[in-house]
């Protein structure tokens, strides 16, 4: 048997795994981004701000702390590319999309939970990111959590 064939047989499963996870991962990602955009359009009428005070002219009836959080995990392809990045440095594009999704999802969940409870604005919004799960013995990250919290206001219609 040609020795290069043996090499190919050993490398092929790894390459197939990479391409497979890339395909599935990027399809799931695109779908999530589409859904996020749709939900953002639907909920855009609920004001969200990092401001600490309600707008002048708002009459606040009630307020409550609301939170929204999301943990998203990495697929194998993203982890592999990130691992290579750690050798040469630079921007890790695979993590950036991950964090963008998690952040937008967390903010949306916060807005949606505020809306469901009858609140009409959220102020004092804060965001926090943390690494949640460890994927391998070498400490690659498996999941990232983004937490968004703020004060939801019930406004008196004036």
């Amino acid at each position: 048997m040609d020795p290069w064939l043996v090499v190919l047989l050993q490398v092929a499963p790894f390459v197939l795994l990479l391409l497979g996870t890339y395909g599935i991962g990027s399809a799931l990602e695109r779908r999530h981004f589409r859904l996020l955009r749709a939900r953002e359009l639907r909920s855009r009428n609920l004001p969200v701000a990092t401001l600490r005070e309600p707008l002048p002219g708002w009459q606040v009836e009630d307020c409550a702390l609301v939170t929204g959080s999301c943990v998203i995990s990495l697929d194998y392809f993203k982890r592999f590319v990130a691992g290579l990045r750690l050798l040469v440095g630079g921007r890790i594009a695979s993590y950036e999309t991950l964090l963008d999704r998690a952040r937008r999802e967390a903010i949306l969940r916060m807005k949606e939970s505020a809306h469901a409870a009858g609140y009409r604005a959220v102020i004092g919004v804060r965001l926090e990111t943390s690494q949640i799960a460890q994927a391998t013995r070498q400490g690659g990250t498996a999941g990232v959590e983004v937490l968004a919290w703020g004060t939801a206001l019930r406004l008196r219609r004036s």
Binding site: M1, P3, V6, V7, Q10, V11, P13, F14, L18, Y22, S26, F33, L36, R37, E40, L41, R44, N45, P47, L55, P56, G57, F77, K78, R79, F80, V81, A82, G83, L84, R85, L86, L87, V88, R91, A93, S94, E96, T97, L99, D100, R104, A121, T136, Q138, G140
Partner: protein
């Protein structure tokens, strides 16, 4: 102050490069860097293994392997003494020999022989028992002497260390599992085959000097128990340190012809 519902652009916090393209460049870069590093390391070990004087080597490593050589009154096959005497005679045909050689016998029924730094040659009990003529055993011992002549054992240690270091750092960064380990295998085995050929040539020279001919030297390989034909052997050839027996025998015959060694002569019987 009033609220205007407007959605910001959502492509700001994500990169525009296609992930596969980025991955491709990274893999290429990592492969090139790894290759350069390995080549540099090999060159360094080459220099060191040539420069290290033999007596220094014997002093550093000699003590490590005494467990193989030590107790000569322990249960050793009767041929061990004959093998030692043979080793001494063969060593005499190598004029620049800087080593004092010791022979150790490993209690293992498999057929194997290897050279350890400092001048220790280890043969297995199985090998001693399977040898049918003195010429064969002389060739095997001569082959190990050839490794010492080329300082192969030092090279092997150096390369092994550096390769495992490089591969560990790459795998540690999450660069995948199969590929680095495999290329390390291939690299070390590839070099080893050249070393084996050179050691064979050296051994042939010693046998010719000792007996005046090379008959019987390669009988051993014809009897090696592993399957010599078929897919299994050929695939394993790449990953085994020794070249496949057929090609090895052919290479030996070729060398004997080119150097003009007589291929006929009395084959000495090994004492029991």
């Amino acid at each position: 102050m009033s609220f205007e519902p407007r959605l910001p652009r959502d492509d700001v916090n994500v990169s525009r490069t296609h992930p596969l393209v980025e991955a491709g460049w990274l893999i290429l870069g990592a492969a090139v860097a790894g290759l350069l590093l390995a080549l540099l390391a090999f060159a360094a070990t080459e220099l060191v293994s040539r420069w290290l004087p033999a007596d220094l080597e014997a002093r550093w490593f000699g003590g490590l392997f005494e467990s193989f050589v030590g107790d000569e009154t322990s249960e050793e096959p009767a041929r061990a003494e004959a093998a030692r005497a043979l080793l001494a005679r063969l060593g005499a045909h190598w004029p620049e020999n800087p080593y004092t050689f010791h022979l150790g016998v490993l209690d293992d029924s498999a057929l194997n022989a290897f050279a350890l730094p400092g001048g220790t040659i280890v043969v297995t009990r199985g090998l001693l028992e399977a040898a049918e003529s003195e010429n064969e055993l002389a060739f095997v011992l001569g082959h190990e002497l050839g490794h010492f002549a080329a300082r192969d054992h030092l090279r092997a240690i150096g390369r092994g260390l550096i390769l495992s270091l490089v591969m560990r750092s790459m795998v540690g960064a999450g660069a995948g599992d199969a590929v680095p380990a495999l290329s390390a295998e291939l690299a070390s085995r590839g070099f080893a085959r050249d070393q084996e050929r050179d050691a064979d040539a050296f051994a042939l020279g010693l046998v010719a000097a000792e007996y005046g001919h090379v008959a019987g030297a390669d009988d051993f390989f014809g009897r090696l128990p592993d399957a010599d034909a078929g897919l299994g052997a050929r695939a394993a050839a790449w990953f085994a340190t020794h070249p496949v027996s057929e090609s090895r025998i052919a290479a030996l015959h070729d060398l004997a012809r080119r150097r003009g060694y007589p291929t006929d002569g009395p084959v000495a019987v090994l004492s029991q």
